[in-house]
């Protein structure tokens, strides 16, 4: 078949036909949903774009079984509004970085959320997107339609490709339909805030509250010069760093836990409360990293042991000015660096290598992303397995070639 510059198959069979045809002619394809994340990763330089945006529609929703299925191109916003009507939610709190990288967040699809394993603050408590993905249908680079998993939460029948493919950025297969666990919305939400803490003390506090039995569902620290750019009026006006953690439970439980935590933390300062709407508005900002919007500075995502977050930031800070937001009680660090030819990659990578974890360059110019490793260079053993995995799913290397790694 003739491949067009942009193709929007509206059935799984049509998607498979396109990919099979491209595989036969070894034609590279850029894979996208609504395109909100196209500026993340290395440029693919593919001449043809395959978008799943016409594969739309929620195909199953059983609130009593906490399960939903949707075709991959269904808008995230549609999924979220249908869930909201059932008083439910995507518990991993999808992270949507369109505002940070210059995409249109309204176009984000549910397939892209799982394909990029885009997990927000609540990941710390309830698991990542990959932990909520129960079933998939899709097409691999051979043009074969396949399924894995199902619509039930407990399923160990065969290998777990839901996890294997979550976060593979369209380089192994293209989802046509995803089935995922949904959760009831919490009865109430309150965020407790400490102001003016240093990074080290803040992470000490957050790690200690995560070690309490009070089921904290979000734990972040925002440095002072970023905190003053929050949209949240109550916090931006304080002029101080913000250390925040969230309680989600019935109101009586929140009151009880707040009292316990207030007593335990009084040496660190006066805890302030963000009640319901104010709390929700704050975490909404955290799922889109609003403090990094409107800049062209390189933005990095660092994943490390929570307690090591401040050490890693301080080490990078010896080479250049760093602005940091700590999520996941310090285990996920977003850092903004000055514009340089390699976006700071050499220093960031050296530091992360000596502390453990990995770094991903989220925002940089296309030329920088083309010339720098965007995803962490893998250890030889892992790289070898990853390369073979790519080759078995996509032997012709046509799906988002080079998006994650230069060689595959």
């Amino acid at each position: 078949m003739q491949l067009a510059a942009e193709m929007r198959p509206d059935t799984e069979a049509a998607l498979a036909e396109i990919i099979a045809s491209a595989a036969a002619s070894k034609t590279s394809l850029e894979i996208a949903g609504g395109g909100s994340k196209r500026a993340i990763g290395r440029p693919t330089n593919a001449a043809h774009l395959v978008s799943t945006r016409s594969l739309r529609g929620i195909t199953l929703y059983q609130p009593n079984e906490m399960v939903m299925s949707a075709r991959a191109g269904t808008l995230l916003s549609e999924v979220q509004s249908v869930l909201a009507r059932g008083n439910q939610m995507l518990a991993f709190e999808p992270l949507e970085l369109a505002g940070v990288v210059g995409g249109d967040a309204r176009q984000a699809t549910i397939g892209s959320i799982f394909a990029t394993n885009a997990s927000g603050p609540r990941r710390l408590a309830v698991g990542a997107a990959r932990d909520h993905l129960m079933g998939i249908r899709g097409v691999n680079g051979r043009g074969e339609v396949f399924k894995n998993g199902g619509r039930v939460m407990k399923n160990v029948t065969g290998y777990d490709l839901c996890k294997g493919l979550a976060g593979s950025w369209g380089t192994l297969a293209v989802f046509s339909e995803v089935t995922f666990k949904v959760m009831p919305k919490p009865p109430a939400s309150t965020t407790l805030v400490l102001l003016g803490l240093s990074d080290e003390i803040a992470i000490e506090v957050l790690c200690s509250v995560m070690g309490t039995p009070y089921e904290i569902t979000g734990a972040v620290h925002i440095q002072q010069h970023l905190a003053v750019t929050l949209d949240h009026m109550g916090l931006r006006g304080q002029g101080k760093s913000v250390t925040a953690f969230r309680l989600e439970a019935p109101p009586k439980s929140i009151a009880y836990r707040r009292d316990k935590l207030t007593a335990a933390l009084k040496v660190y300062g006066q805890l302030q409360d963000l009640e319901q709407k104010s709390s929700e508005a704050f975490w909404d900002e955290m799922t889109r990293l609003s403090v990094f919007e409107g800049s062209d500075h390189p933005l990095w995502r660092l994943s490390t042991a929570p307690g090591k977050g401040p050490t890693v930031v301080a080490a990078i800070g010896r080479y250049m000015p760093v602005s940091a937001v700590y999520d996941w009680s310090g285990g996920l660090v977003w850092i903004d660096l000055p514009v340089t030819t390699d976006a700071g990659a050499a220093d960031v990578r050296r530091v992360i290598a000596s502390h453990g974890g990995h770094a991903t360059l989220i925002r940089a110019s296309a030329s920088t992303r083309a010339s720098t490793d965007v995803f962490q260079t893998l250890e030889p053993g892992v790289q070898n397995l990853s390369r073979k995995l790519k080759a078995t799913f996509d032997p012709a290397n046509i799906l988002n070639p080079g998006r994650m790694y230069v060689a595959f």
Binding site: N64, V152, V156, P213
Partner: protein, 495 residues
């Protein structure tokens, strides 16, 4: 039951058995290798005891490096390997083969690092599931997945099968609680994946390895999440006059947005058997019993149990009983967790492990009863109701081959039904050999080929636990290397 197609043993390898044992002993030390018949016999089966096979040799390494040496040797000599933890697999996952060396990590059980601020424990995988919690319990932490065999089963086996348990409704299964691992590949290469951070970089190899049934490599170390225990926990019992109504009550609890830590279901036969064994205080005059457990402070527990009671009352329960002491709570759970052992006292049984969408529960329970009656068998139903994971225990007489055959047929019908209503063959026990030939029911040839090619990525020669998980006839089209696919009917030895 009693027979399953297994690939022909490699006669050249079997003929070299004595030399292989000697060479392994020279490589690893005499105390690390079991070659004598009595010693090997202890490893001839796992918890699926209907199937037995003497392994070529048994290796008990005490370090990752020793595992690597053993695997490298086997790889160089084309010898198959079956990885084993404590041998508690209900699916035959650790069943040896005549031409395979069993490598067990059971001697590797050290705790390598406890890190409370980062809420992780790094351990060798021969540690038992319960010992992880045992290590951190003094500081108020626990390791969440809790399979019923947790006293004996190893973390290695849990990782192999992606084990669950009663409390995974709230805390997830093994794959949700493992952050990093060290795996030895078949050629002896040692690979570290993930670590103390919450997501591993690149492709999610961790997610693929957990649940790969010992077919990708031998996992020798793991970094697992540990969680601060709630201030308290308390179960309640709800008794109903029909299983159907009990199922509706479960749906209503979940539908109301309440997620208890656990919701366990037992039907009348299961209740009677468990009560007779454990004296748990279960009501004997109900058709179905739910054990619902919640967590929190005393007040929080009271509030949640009161909400659940209000919902349950809409379904006319004949028993509502909240535990009023730690002793009573322990007894309630002892009854449930000893269910398999209790059933085993009165009959032989096979334990099914299908999962179904919760909404189909009433019709599936009716069908299970019908299937077992048709095969003239008794069944006791126990399951994790919150997530639809069924454990029908089909009772039979192992001394009566016809009864055993009927039990297997009934089991296959039940699992096929689970798939038909939108569920799956196995929720937490794994495929092993037990469900291998039913994989066609759930997956088509393309689905299976895709998975088998992933095995080839990790184990190009198909030497690791090769006879398991994938139907033998599905292998030919999946570019699986030539492994002498001629098959013979291998009959179990008499139990």
């Amino acid at each position: 039951m009693s027979s399953i197609l297994l690939p022909d043993a490699d006669v050249d390898i079997v003929a070299r058995r004595v030399d292989i044992v000697k060479e392994l002993q020279a490589l690893l030390g005499r105390d690390r290798v079991i070659g004598d018949e009595d010693g090997r016999r202890a490893y001839e089966t796992d918890a699926l005891t209907a199937y037995r096979c003497m392994p070529l040799a048994v290796v008990l390494p005490q370090s990752t490096e020793e595992v690597a040496k053993a695997l490298k040797y086997c790889h160089a000599n084309g010898i198959k390997v079956v990885a084993r933890g404590a041998g508690t697999s209900l699916a035959g996952g650790a069943l040896p083969a005549e031409d395979a060396v069993v490598i067990t990590v059971s001697k590797m059980k050290r705790v390598l690092d406890l890190d409370y601020p980062n809420r992780i424990a790094r351990v060798e995988t021969g540690i038992t599931n319960l010992a992880i919690t045992g290590t951190v319990a003094k500081d108020g932490f626990f390791y969440a997945p809790d399979p019923s065999s947790q006293l004996a089963c190893t973390l290695a086996g849990n990782i192999g099968m992606n084990s669950g348990g009663a409390h995974c409704l709230k805390y997830g299964v093994t794959t949700n609680n493992v952050l990093g691992l060290r795996i030895v590949l078949m050629d002896g290469e040692i690979v570290d994946i993930g670590g103390a951070h919450l997501d591993s970089g690149g492709y999610d190899l961790l997610g693929l390895i957990v649940g790969s049934e010992g077919q990708f490599g031998i996992v020798t170390e793991a970094t697992v999440r540990i969680i601060k225990a709630a201030e308290g926990a308390r179960p309640m019992m709800l008794g109903f006059q029909s299983s159907e109504v009990a199922g509706q009550c479960v749906s209503a609890i979940i539908g109301a947005g309440l997620i208890p830590v656990a919701i366990e279901f037992m039907d009348r036969p299961a209740i009677q058997i468990c009560e007779a064994f454990a004296k748990a205080g279960y009501p004997l005059d109900v058709e179905a019993l739910l054990i619902v457990e919640v967590e929190g402070s005393d007040t929080e527990i009271d509030d949640q149990l009161s909400d659940i009671t209000e919902i349950a009352k809409q379904f006319n329960p004949s028993v509502i009983k909240v535990s009023d002491s730690p002793e009573m709570s322990a007894k309630i759970w002892k009854g449930r967790k000893s269910a398999f052992g209790a059933v085993g006292r009165i009959a032989d049984y096979i334990c099914m492990d299908g999962t179904i969408p919760l909404g189909r529960l009433p019709e599936v329970l009716v069908a299970i009863t019908e299937i077992c009656q048709r095969h003239q068998l008794k069944v006791a139903n126990i399951f994790h109701a919150g997530d639809g994971n069924l454990h029908p225990l089909i009772l039979f007489d192992a001394n009566d081959p016809a009864s055993a055959e009927r039990a297997e047929l009934a089991g296959n019908e039940i699992l096929t039904l689970c798939v038909k209503v939108g569920g799956c063959l196995t929720g937490e026990h794994g495929v092993g050999i037990e469900k291998r030939d039913l994989m066609h029911v759930q997956f088509n040839a393309t689905d299976l080929a895709l998975q088998m090619r992933i095995k080839t990525v990790f184990d190009p020669d198909w030497l690791l636990n090769p006879a398991k998980v994938f139907p033998l006839d599905a292998r030919l089209m999946a570019e699986i290397p030539e492994r002498r696919e001629r098959t013979v009917r291998t009959v179990r030895s008499a139990a």
